[in-house]
Amino acid sequence: MATQAGAAASVADARMALRHRLADRGLDRTLLLLLPAVIFIVALFIYPFVYGLQLSFQPQPGSEAVQQYGSGPFADYHNFFADPYLRNTIWTTLKLSLPGALFNVIASVPIAYRMRGRFRGKRTITTILVVPITLGTVLTAEGLLAFMGPTGWLNRLLLDVGIVDHPVRFTHNYWGVLFSLIISGFPFAFLLTLSYLSGIDPTLERAAATLGAGWWQRFRHITLPLLAPGLGITFCLSFVLAFSVFPSAIMVGDPSRQTRVISIAAFHAAFEQYDYSMASAIAMIMGAVELIVIGLVLGWRSRLYRGATGGKG
């Protein structure tokens, strides 16, 4: 009896010891709770990515790329960069998404700066600013057409007041898409900027004020440097969002020329030419361009101060 109990105890000890050793290495059973997330990521991101990547290196027999550049693994990529109609979609997309994201980030700063304190009506204003996020791009595009289209309210107003004598083209061109990117992207940038701003300790600005700094100097020397890393992240996310612009490029843009963005090219390859490997190659190029831009921004960000900002965030 006694020896049995002793043996049971030593087995229990060994088990305890193993658990402690694992815990020392940062492993414990609660990590199993991460399993669903890991499966989810593998199934939804990694598998499609790897599948698309390998597909992009297997040009479809009989496709335009194979006819012109052979059936080597890089034929689709070669085709993309050799054909200006395809290649230029990168610039077209960058020309929309970079200014769109930049505008959203820059515009969100003064508004968030004004809105970070407590004041009456803050919730109403925040709601109004954030509502477009719930609309979705298609609804936004329709709204834009109704408001800014050739027979929209804005043009009617301009005509009635007599500022112009023909309807101004705000839509079905570059500007239409840019407006739609701003409308749907701004709330997002604003919310992020607001949360970064409220993470900055407001007494820092008060301290600066007692040291003789006026409002601009306080913003320029205290708030902006502490906010800049957050703005970098906000820019990256806004940019990625804008870079994959698709519905509005078609609905309020000029999808065959001015706003033939890269996702239109991918859509065209996949669902009009049924060339999935070309579409995959375009998707990979999209990803690469996004990575380059994000890499540049993060490189700039790594040179900034990124420590604590003393606030509640």
Binding site: L204, R206, A208, T210, G212, A213, G214
Partner: protein, 355 residues
């Protein structure tokens, strides 16, 4: 801008938040070079008073005068007052040097001159070796020194400090207290210092201002406030821990008899009065106001012991004793009548826990 002031005057300064007054009719005149401490429990309006002085909070009423100039409408960046915040509020993205130089940079002081003054401030707070570090790399005490250096490098006409030591541990607090005193003696800058710690206020200030619920209770030199508190609240706050509520037997001018306790009257009394006695004013042994007490708890504190005892009538007493006492001892203690301060029972008391 850094010229010495001769007088700073607060006239009926008031500030309320949503109709609730946090500071009510605050009158105070501060002479140039003086060190004034605002003392009171948490929530009594000390920070409000300081922020009003700094210009970080607009007044709801009253005015502030610097010599003959009205300054309560001047924005904080133009007042030229230095301020030390409770959480230091150092700029995390600037080095120690950058933090201290910030005010000089805003004032467009020349490079060489700024460098010299920053170096002076650094050596004054003994941080020369840490000039290139960032606030995140400093200990609490060092951060506080930076905050002080940053506030005084401009030689402001007024230095405001809001509980600057309350985030430090006990030992560091004592060190920094001495440091602040030394800096004040060296530079002679007019200072308003906010604290809830009576010891800190007593040891630093030339003059104390006691606040309760936004109203001034007493203004006076540390000795005066310590030995002659104006009311029960101030007494409780200044360490008169024993409060015995007793019926008034007789009153003759200043001397009162409560039961069989002789004391000194501090205000008009009703039927019942409160005798306030400091633990250290009791002596063990026979003498005036002798009473027998049972020792209940003894805390050893080095030279002295803090003793909790109970009187024959069941009242709890705090006292200090040099003689060795043990729980269960029955001893006679006495206290001179002039150290028994008698207040009306219905005057407001200090909060139980002073913090």
């Amino acid at each position: 801008m850094s010229s010495r002031i001769s007088e700073l005057r607060l006239e009926k300064v008031s500030r309320s938040f949503g109709g609730v007054p946090a500071l009510d009719g605050f009158d105070l005149t501060i002479k140039g070079g003086e060190f004034v401490a605002l003392l009171g429990p948490s929530g009594c309006g000390k920070s409000t008073a300081l922020n009003c002085l700094a210009g970080l909070l607009p007044l709801s009423g009253g005015s502030i005068w610097l010599d003959d100039k009205r300054i309560d409408t001047v924005p904080p960046e133009q007042r030229g007052f230095g301020m030390v915040f409770q959480n230091y509020a150092l700029f995390p993205h600037m080095s120690v040097r950058g933090n201290i130089a910030f005010g000089l940079r805003m004032a467009r002081v020349g490079k060489a001159e700024a460098q010299r003054r920053v170096d002076e401030a650094l050596s004054l707070v003994q941080l020369v070796d840490h000039a290139e570090k960032f606030p995140g790399q400093l200990s609490g005490g060092q951060q506080q020194r930076v905050a002080i250096a940053r506030a005084i490098v401009l030689e402001p006409s007024l230095v405001l400090m809001d509980e600057p030591l309350s985030n430090l541990d006990a030992k560091l607090r004592l060190e920094m207290r001495t440091e602040i005193k030394r800096i004040h003696q060296t530079l002679g800058l007019t200072t308003v210092y906010v604290t809830h710690d009576q010891e800190e206020a007593l040891s630093l200030a030339d003059r104390l201002v006691l606040l309760r619920d936004g109203r001034v209770q007493q203004i006076g030199a540390p000795e005066d406030v310590y030995t002659e508190p104006a009311n029960r609240f101030v007494a409780g706050f200044m360490g008169y821990r024993n409060e015995l509520e007793l019926p008034v037997t007789s009153v003759a001018d200043k001397s009162v008899v409560l039961g069989d306790l002789n004391g000194t009257r501090r205000e008009d009394l009703g039927q019942v009065a409160v005798a306030a006695i400091r633990p250290e004013d009791f002596t063990v042994g026979d003498g005036p106001n002798a009473m027998e007490v049972d020792v209940e708890v003894v805390e050893y504190q080095g030279r002295e012991q803090a003793v909790q005892a109970r009187t024959a009538s069941g009242e709890q007493l705090h006292l200090r004793a040099v003689a060795r006492l043990a729980p269960g001892d029955r001893v006679t203690v006495s206290v001179p009548p002039e150290r028994v301060l008698v207040f009306a029972a219905d005057s407001p008391a200090a909060p139980e826990k002073v913090a």
